[in-house]
Assembly symmetry: C2
Homo-oligomer: 457 residues x 2
Amino acid sequence: MDSALQFLEQHHVSTRDQLLDFLRFPSVSTDPDRTTDVAECAEWLANHLRRIGLPTVTVFQTDGHPIVYAEHLEAGPKAPTVLMYGHYDVQPVDPLHLWTNDPFEPTIRDGKVFARGATDDKGQVWIHVAAVEAMLSTGEPLPINLKLLIEGEEEIGSPNLSPFVRNHAAMLACDAVVVSDTAMFAPGQPSLVYGLRGLAYVEIHVDGPRRDLHSGSYGGPVANPLNALCSIIASMKDEQGRVTIDGFYDDVPAISDQERTALNALDYTSERLLHDIGQPDAGGEPGYSIVERLWTRPTLDVNGIIGGFTGEGAKTVLPAKAMAKVSMRLVPDQKHHHIVELITRHVERVTPAGVHSRVVDLHGADPVLVPLDAPALAAADWALRETFGTPCLYQREGGSIPVVELFSSALGVPTVLMGFGLNTENAHSPDEHFSLDHFRKGLDATVRFYHAMKTLA
Amino acid sequence: MDSALQFLEQHHVSTRDQLLDFLRFPSVSTDPDRTTDVAECAEWLANHLRRIGLPTVTVFQTDGHPIVYAEHLEAGPKAPTVLMYGHYDVQPVDPLHLWTNDPFEPTIRDGKVFARGATDDKGQVWIHVAAVEAMLSTGEPLPINLKLLIEGEEEIGSPNLSPFVRNHAAMLACDAVVVSDTAMFAPGQPSLVYGLRGLAYVEIHVDGPRRDLHSGSYGGPVANPLNALCSIIASMKDEQGRVTIDGFYDDVPAISDQERTALNALDYTSERLLHDIGQPDAGGEPGYSIVERLWTRPTLDVNGIIGGFTGEGAKTVLPAKAMAKVSMRLVPDQKHHHIVELITRHVERVTPAGVHSRVVDLHGADPVLVPLDAPALAAADWALRETFGTPCLYQREGGSIPVVELFSSALGVPTVLMGFGLNTENAHSPDEHFSLDHFRKGLDATVRFYHAMKTLA
């Protein structure tokens, strides 16, 4: 282990430069125009894994973007097997004009690397790739059997990963999964995430007259799809911020007093939120702390609306149609498909006369909780404490990593969420970045984690 | 008069072809990239007016787009003076993909000319230009003194016309104004409009967090500007379609029983609306007929909304800001500026905690009624009846022509609204067109109108 850590210390510049190469691929999975870029990123990653000495590397084609898979199984049948999961695809970059640098020309400023995918998730994937390279470079056998599964569709809901995992359950068999795609609670504060919210993401389409109309000639008797869409959306939450869709909270049990106390010990203040995002905690339900609203309560948010004339000036048009993207973050025991049914029924019920509406289920994920007594969690706890010099913090997370639920149901194993990002690193926003200090510490922690897995198994 | 009518009959093909040339200018006044095109259209129009024999033609520069002005004052001081007003600017063309032909490459199909501006207002301006050409070509003196005022900013609220008219009141002095920029009630049914709705057009901006956020990391405590905007807009109307802004209806008196009876004699059925626009009369207030809702009641409509992610796929973003364009059609005695004050106060009152809102007054116009006993109205009535062979219909109109109020207050004269368009001709929409039959009849009616003005004065 020490020689692997030494390798990382000696090669930290080239390790970082390799990450910059990885970040240069515009692997935007949701954009049909980027399909070739996504494929090239997968091929480049696979070739790199071959070059650092992984004996088996395969690029699996899917109905969408390819899955990169690599194995190193020479630790023997008695050694534990760890499956590392990550994703090489990234979010879209718009609004592009708000970026300080080209999102696909990584730039280092103030000890951070700025690029789309820096923290979500290429930077964190690279921690594992470089840690494996360091361990292989020592000439010693790996302490564990290792499997790397790096997909290209995480940002669009992993539509092809679920069948892939279920069809390759034997190949992917392992004792634990490790994922680095979450945020630490604060800079320098190692954190392990044991709960994730789920997601239900829909589009609501409202159609009115068959064409755009002059609001002077027709305004009055015509039902306006944009006004209707606003009414539909406004009807989904009350003034307190509580979701008013029938049955929405039915499967949300109150959390235990013990967990509530533990979570609220975390110092997430309104001041911190104001500092981070320029807004105090004005959203969500009354009676819940910020941490509780972030991690233990479901949400309903409009992600985008379009309709009518939105250019410069004043076009007096009654639009023929309108569309909103609406997503709900889910908590145990809500289920994605059931929630989509509930919102569909709600939209049907509240759609005003004269317009037609339909709800399209774009994608989703069920929420998940990881058992706190999993041995792999203890290995991660030790590795993080040893590296950061401070005890680990256990937290939930407001985002969704649908594969955690998948690994639990398809492979029957727990997932360790050992993330090195920060919520302030602009994942999904302009000027996404990743702390190079956390990157450096993440490398050491990951080498320690893989070694600790051997001891603890 | 007869030889002018004969000229029109003989030259109807070249008259139409000249209109097509006029329609080829992409004179979109709201688009800063079209400034040169707008100016070129004005110059071309002025040169044409010189060519057909108007002795004084001036292109007045303004702070915005130019005003074309021409005079023919040889009928003598005892003859009445008529000021014709129109506009050579047009609406934007988006969504472009819904056009059958290039909006600036006029195409004739089914006896209609399809192009942006065909009916609003270039086609109707051309009726006057060609009628004047016909009268001048006979070699006889014009029956009246004529002034032509054709502006390039009608579609953006005529910001420079009001000071122009007030500063040139002596030059523009006249006995009546004639405007052809309204719709006939039905094909072949000549109509005179005596009432126009006003307009108050605002933008509502809502600002939330200082940047777009990941909805997983921040969803819950964050107040979402798009949800807030929907609530603000939904709060402006009740489920019946009645506007709920405090004081909105205070200056709207009930119309007389006599006028109500006359208006409701017009055969505007729900079936006609369904046929024209693909939607029944589901909007507006209960207790008012379609005609009343169109012409005598104010409205509140969203013309456009933008915010967040609206591309393909599912981006889980909490948007930093959102914007809606909202316009209200006004009726006597509502005033544009007062209504903007009321909506601004309303938005302030209902804006949810955590977000900031502001209302921007884009433009507006006060509503207007034309006195039914004006002699010019009688001249138009005769000219239309003589040409179409059927009695004129008197109606109000749902749209706004702010200059009518301007001519009344600045020049002290009534305006004759003698329109040849149809509401089904897609003004402000894709595939705008103009009936060539109405164009042809409009030419004869306009020659007759100018001659009748001499007799009636």
